[in-house]
């Protein structure tokens, strides 16, 4: 059974066969790999949230991380973002080992992330929310900002223009002066996406981008993700099999903290282990998409 073999490859004993994703051309890690997660294990008390997880993200792809509730998807994101330190395993970004990196360093590295709970700044207008995400592009320092120099003013104008451009792109520029709390959920989601995009990341991590969206909005999202692939790399954690199957180049399936399958949507769809995992979690109502 090929699936079992592949699974075996990821076990610690075979770690030197580090090519976890079968699809991947056999090149060295550094040149064609944006992000490499190697043998990451996370324990919360007695609970193993992630076990020996391998993940390789190549540029200009859309990768979907799926799995039933509690499979460890968000934990994986949190490891990448530095919120959770893995008990073992390593992360490599463009071939560089990430050691004890902190969430606020991600933006500078070129990684952006949206959150399941959106995390929009309730007291900031939509425009300000997005401008906060663009901080990476500000050239002038704190002293210049305190003194209100022309440099800081140019920065401010630049951030504003970048933010407006992204808002226009996502068709939410008309609400730029509203507070997020007053907007419909779908619009809020786009604002959150705009805040992540405005940093012009090389890697965009999307946590449940489709949850709570109408089917029309979902279609829009699919189009947007395809468009995003032109310029950046996307990893998304999602329940919606439908969406994942439609947009992803590659899918990683997690169950009980372990990678049980990786590959193209077609391959994953056909994988009995995956089916098992999902049917075993029949309570998972989100699966109504009927992939």
């Amino acid at each position: 059974m090929p699936l079992r073999d592949r699974h075996a490859e990821t076990s610690p004993t075979n770690a030197h066969f580090s090519s976890a994703v079968e699809m991947r051309p056999m090149t060295s890690d550094s040149s064609d790999t944006l992000l490499a997660v190697r043998g990451v294990t996370v324990r919360f008390g007695g609970l193993v949230a992630l076990h020996d997880v391998e993940l390789t993200i190549r540029p200009r792809t859309v990768v979907g991380v799926i799995g039933p509730n509690g499979a460890g998807k968000t934990t994986l994101f949190n490891v990448v973002c530095g919120f959770v330190r893995p008990d073992s395993g390593t992360l490599h970004w463009r071939g560089q080992r990430l050691r004890r990196h902190r969430p606020h360093q991600l933006a500078k590295l070129g990684i952006s992330r949206t959150m399941q709970a959106l995390g929009l700044f309730a007291g900031l207008t939509v425009l300000e929310n997005v401008m906060t995400g663009a901080n990476r592009h500000a050239g002038s320092g704190t002293v210049a900002a305190l003194l209100g120099t022309a440099g800081s003013a140019r920065d401010e104008r630049d951030l504003r223009e970048r933010a407006l451009a992204v808002l226009e792109e996502l068709d939410v520029a008309d609400v730029r002066d509203a507070l997020p709390g007053s907007l419909p959920y779908g619009v809020q989601k786009r604002v959150a996406l705009a805040r992540a995009l405005v940093a012009e990341p090389d890697l965009l991590l999307l946590d449940e981008p489709a949850s709570g969206l109408s089917s029309a909005e979902m279609d829009e999202l699919v189009g947007r993700l395809r468009w995003l692939r032109e310029s950046t790399t996307v990893v998304l954690v999602e329940h919606h099999m439908d969406l994942v199957m439609r947009v992803c180049d590659e899918i990683v399936v997690l169950n009980f903290g372990e990678v049980i399958a990786t590959g193209t949507p077609e391959r994953v769809r056909a994988d009995p282990l995956v089916l098992d995992a999902y049917l075993g979690n029949a309570a998972d109502g989100e699966e109504r998409a009927g992939a």
Partner: protein, 378 residues
């Protein structure tokens, strides 16, 4: 002072229209705008002092130093969401720095004394901020209250230098020789105080209206999201403490300059709490709120005392009436005008705009402005 109401939607944003296709013109540095506004404000203050008697001059100066203290607190608590019940401690540091410099290094010019007061207090704020950055909500409140209670006790520990509970008294000579006898001393003092206050406010306005102000508010609203947006949360919180401590130190230094005293009895927790109360009365999230708060701090007491004098009440009642009225006002304002005076004014202005141009849908924004905003962690 300039309009710094950046947290409100819409109307306050200066270049609200234009958007992307605005041609790339030369930008005007905020410094210039704010300095011009400060000059206008200074002219207004000077004019006001010329029109009023010496004692009112003193009150104008008093409003000045309270303004800078409350504005600093506005940045920490209003913008950054860190509730400090111990801001008076920084005024304490500023006042004692000026006092010690005046007494022991008399040759130092006043501006140097004030600068050093701000710096000393800033260092203390850096330490306090570093300790406080990990604390949340009531834990921070408790720790800062302990700071307000504990720090003035230092004077008891070093009675030779700090004169124990009696504190230090001194006279600050600031009037240039040419003006002695020409300008009444309290008028000159009011000018000096307001020059310093407005300079500080220029910096605060630069901060509040720019990227840093936005970052402070982002951290207040959601620390996790802010860090994902590339904001170093801890450093931002420490920066807020630093800036507000510098303001507190400057306020304390100005108070010492104005009144010639530095004594522990002036820096009780009651001072810290009244600064916070003034901030909330004036309205959080805006430097204008600090102005209304400082005015309330100075004039509310005056009015209530005059009022209770008028009534010819029994001494027990008359003595306590101002305190009771102050408490009632705090409660009523929070219940009925949760955004303070500035929130009320803003509301009023939006209403006026709405009635003038009904098509703009400003009424929606009025409701926005009334949304309770989250302070600190949700």
């Amino acid at each position: 002072m300039t309009s710094t109401n950046t947290s409100r939607p819409g109307v306050a944003e200066a270049p609200a229209s234009g958007g992307l296709d605005r041609p790339r013109t030369r930008v005007v540095p905020p410094l210039l705008v704010h300095l011009l506004a400060a000059l206008v404000a200074l002219a207004a203050v000077v004019a006001l002092t010329l029109l009023t008697d010496p004692f009112t001059n003193l009150r104008i100066a008093t409003v000045g130093y309270y303004l800078v203290a409350v504005a600093g607190l506005a940045l920490l608590t209003g913008f950054n969401g860190q509730v400090s019940l111990g801001h008076g401690a920084f005024m304490f540091i500023g006042a004692y720095t000026v006092a010690l410099l005046v007494l022991h290094v008399p040759a130092f010019p006043l501006w140097a004394d004030l600068l050093l007061a701000a710096v000393t207090s800033g260092v203390a704020g850096l330490l306090a901020g570093a300790a406080a950055a990990r604390l949340h909500g009531p834990y921070l409140a408790g720790a800062t209250l302990a700071l307000a209670v504990g720090l003035p006790a230092v004077t008891q520990r070093f009675p030779e230098l700090l004169e124990g509970s009696n504190g230090l008294s001194f006279t600050v000579n600031s009037t240039p020789d040419a003006l002695v006898g020409v300008v009444p001393p309290t008028r000159w003092q009011a000018w000096v105080v307001w020059v310093a206050v407005l300079l500080a406010l220029v910096v605060l306005a630069n901060l509040a209206r720019g990227r840093l102000g936005r970052t402070l508010r982002a951290v207040r609203d959601d620390e996790v999201a802010a860090s994902l947006a590339g904001v170093h949360v801890g450093r931002t919180k420490v920066l807020a403490f630093l800036v507000s401590a510098v303001c507190g130190g400057l306020a304390g230094g100005l108070q010492a300059f104005l009144l010639g005293t530095a004594a522990p009895g002036s820096f009780t927790p009651a001072l810290s709490l009244s600064l916070l109360a003034a901030l909330v009365l004036g309205g959080l999230g805006s430097l204008w709120g600090a102005l209304w708060g400082a005015l309330a701090l100075v004039y509310f007491q005056v009015w209530t005392e005059d009022f209770s004098d008028l009534l010819h009440l029994p001494t027990n009642v008359a003595d306590n009436l101002p305190l009771a009225l102050y408490g009632v006002v705090l409660v009523v304002v929070i219940l009925l005008f949760p955004h303070g005076v500035q929130g009320g004014l803003h509301h009023l202005r939006l209403r006026l705009l709405a009635s003038r141009s009904p098509r703009r849908g400003v009424t929606d924004r009025v409701t926005d402005a009334d949304d309770p905003r989250s302070e600190g962690e949700a």
